[in-house]
């Protein structure tokens, strides 16, 4: 099957800055694909390369099997939901949503009907007569979504669309986006720096760092088997065990990651591995509490369930975890 979006060693350099550096990607049709990374990691530039706002310095991009280089944005069957929504301030909500149909020459009655329909889909029926300035951030976000979807794009690009919303609204929109994507069967490419958002929404995640893709996989793969220290650190939090400790535990050469929630307090039983050390600090966080311990020079963070009594700083502690919780990483 042809990939919805295909990157073959794509680079985009701005002078000496390698914003995107030799990226290979294949996004399948109907997939919810997240590009995750810190700011400046090249994820937004990748999105702009798909949209056509940027041209690659080198490499090759295909959208549904068609070469994308040299094709202007207005000839690509992809649409973008912008981070700042980019609604036209001088047009009514209805005209904003109908814009794509208007420039394609669709008749007035027809585009009016389609725009009303799209507004109903994002739960904003009857808002057509207002101006963007009269809407709240969440409502504007929905209008931007309707304006993109009304064109029936083959790929929908979303550039940190939930970044400006408050927590409650963001969680609600995450649900809605996910449902929308499933019902429409569209390919979504979603850029975010929020790992929680990427893990909870995406079918697959690409982790970006310094213009390169560090790992691509399902959220579970990325979380359980991070390939590098960067991914282990950026996606969730992780203990990085030094090569010396890995060797002592009989894991082999390299560093390993260990998720804090995999560690429990108390001596090892059965197949579990135990570490003794001294408690450094303990903090109360609510549902889980965090214990930091010093085990022979290694700093280990454990996330303990609320019921477990926290040892006082300085007290001797024994931590244990399952051998399978350790994940040896391919590169440091």
């Amino acid at each position: 099957m042809t990939a919805a979006v295909l990157f073959q060693s794509v680079s985009r350099h701005f002078g000496a800055v390698r914003a995107v550096d030799g990226v290979d990607l294949s996004i399948a049709e109907g997939e919810f694909f997240a590009m995750l990374g810190p700011s400046g990691s090249g994820k937004t530039t990748c999105l702009r390369l798909i949209a056509g706002f940027e041209q690659p310095t080198s490499g090759h991009i295909e959208i549904f099997g068609e070469t994308a280089e040299g094709v202007p944005p207005y000839r690509r069957n992809v649409n973008t939901v912008f981070q700042d929504y980019a609604l036209f301030p001088h047009l009514s909500i209805l005209d904003n949503v109908a814009y794509g149909l208007m420039v394609k020459g669709v008749g007035k009655a027809e585009r009016r009907r389609a725009a009303e329909e799209a507004l109903a889909m994002v739960a904003l029926p009857g808002y057509g007569a207002r101006k963007p300035g009269q809407l709240s951030g969440g409502q504007r976000q929905r209008v931007a979504l309707a304006r993109a979807l009304v064109n029936r794009p083959r790929v929908l690009l979303l550039d940190e669309p939930l970044g400006a919303l408050d927590l409650k609204l963001r969680e609600q929109m995450q649900e809605e986006l996910k449902t929308l994507q499933k019902t429409l069967g569209l390919t979504f490419v979603f850029v975010t720096h929020d790992q929680g958002e990427a893990l909870s929404m995406a079918d697959r995640v690409a982790v970006f760092h310094d213009g390169k893709v560090r790992q691509v996989g399902t959220p579970e793969e990325i979380y359980r088997r991070p390939r590098s220290r960067f991914v282990a650190d950026f996606v969730g939090s992780s203990n990085i065990l030094s090569p010396a400790l890995c060797a002592a535990l009989g894991l082999g050469a390299g560093t390993a990651s260990l998720r804090p929630e995999q560690i429990s307090l108390g001596p090892a039983t059965g197949d579990r591995i135990g570490l003794t050390g001294r408690a450094v600090s303990a903090s109360f966080l609510g549902p889980v509490n965090r214990l930091t311990a010093d085990c022979g020079g290694e700093r280990i963070v454990a996330a303990l369930p609320a019921g477990v009594a926290l040892p006082a700083p300085g007290a001797e502690v024994t931590l244990s975890f399952d051998r399978s919780a350790l994940h040896l990483m391919e590169d440091a």
Binding site: A51, G52, F53, P72, P73, Y74, V78, N79, T80, F82, Q83, D84, A86, L87, F88, P89, H90, Y99, G100, M102, V103, K104, R147, A148, N151
Partner: protein
């Protein structure tokens, strides 16, 4: 010690300045009045007042025999204003102002667009310098320089001949109305100099308007399938319209009122400004000069009303 004393209420209200600033702080309206009073008195009494007195002269008329003003309200002066010769002057000035404004928009828009969307750092500084620099030198010097540039022996004629295009210039000058013996004595010359002199007043407002259009709007338009021409028509132009209207108010009203450029460059036929100058000076017909002055004011009022009706200020 001093440090401890500082903890109690700071008592620095000694001295007249201190007491004055406390007074103004407590009565902000007094401060506002002091700041706005003098300029408002200047504008209101000296400027608007004398303008009103001058304009009110237009309802009187001059006695043809004695040359004295008869202080009885009459429409005779306005009848005189709409005589064929004077109507010619009004139509001529109005057409020139309209053509100059249109040409200024066409020339200014790309410059303003480049400055607002592409120029950064040093280039932006260079842009401002380039636009403002002509305003630093005397208006008269520039106009006389243009007189030389456009003269029959000037650089424009020379350049056309060097490019073997002298025939083109001759053909243009042979055209009725806009032609003449040389550019410097034709309406074409007057037009060129008007556009040159007023151009900064068009570029700056358009640039300011475009500066406020986020780049993502242009990208969104392209993303939704609009080609550059459609993006210009449906996004850039409507959002730049307040700037274009502001700029055209400058170019239009400045052209309507100017009497120096058409006197130095162009045919000897009069523009409104020259007519006012001649009527209140040599002819001593103050009522007619006042009536002529009413014309640009009425035209500008109609223009602003029409611009408002067309929604030019909606995006503000």
């Amino acid at each position: 010690m001093a440090a401890v004393a500082g903890l109690s209420a700071p008592s620095r209200t000694t001295g007249t300045t201190g007491r004055l600033s406390d007074l103004l702080w407590r009565h902000p309206r007094l401060l506002l009045g002091l700041l706005l009073g003098p300029p408002l008195a200047w504008l209101g009494v000296v400027y608007l007042g004398s303008l009103a007195v001058f304009l009110s002269q237009s309802i009187f008329a001059i006695d043809d025999f004695s040359g004295l003003i008869t202080y009885e309200p009459t429409l005779a002066t306005y009848r005189q204003l709409f005589s064929d010769a004077n109507l010619d002057i009004i139509v001529r000035t109005l057409s020139m102002a309209a053509v100059v404004t249109l040409a200024s928009i066409v020339v200014a828009f790309p410059i303003a667009y480049y400055a607002a969307r592409y120029a950064r750092g040093g280039w932006k500084a260079l842009f401002y310098l380039g636009v403002m620099l002509p305003l630093w030198s005397s208006y008269l010097v520039k106009i006389y320089a243009w007189k030389l540039i456009l003269a029959k022996e000037g650089i424009v004629t020379w350049a056309f001949e060097r490019l073997h295009l002298g025939w083109l210039l001759d053909a243009w000058l042979a055209l009725p109305v806009i032609g003449g013996n040389s550019l410097s004595v034709s309406y074409t010359g007057t037009f060129l100099v008007f556009v040159y002199v007023w151009l900064p007043f068009m570029i700056l407002p358009i640039q300011a308007a475009l500066e406020r259009v986020p780049g993502s709007l242009v990208e969104a338009s392209a993303d939704l399938g609009a080609d550059p021409r459609q993006t210009f028509r449906h996004v850039l132009l409507p959002l730049a319209l307040p700037g274009i209207v502001a700029g055209s108010i400058f170019t239009f009203s400045l052209t309507l009122g100017d009497y120096i450029i058409p006197q130095i460059i162009g045919s000897s036929r009069l523009f409104i400004g020259q007519a006012v100058y001649a009527q209140q000076g040599t002819a001593g017909n103050i009522p007619l000069a006042a009536a002529f002055t009413v014309v640009p004011i009425v035209i500008m009022a109609v223009y602003l009303w029409a611009a408002r009706r067309m929604g030019a200020f909606n995006a503000l």
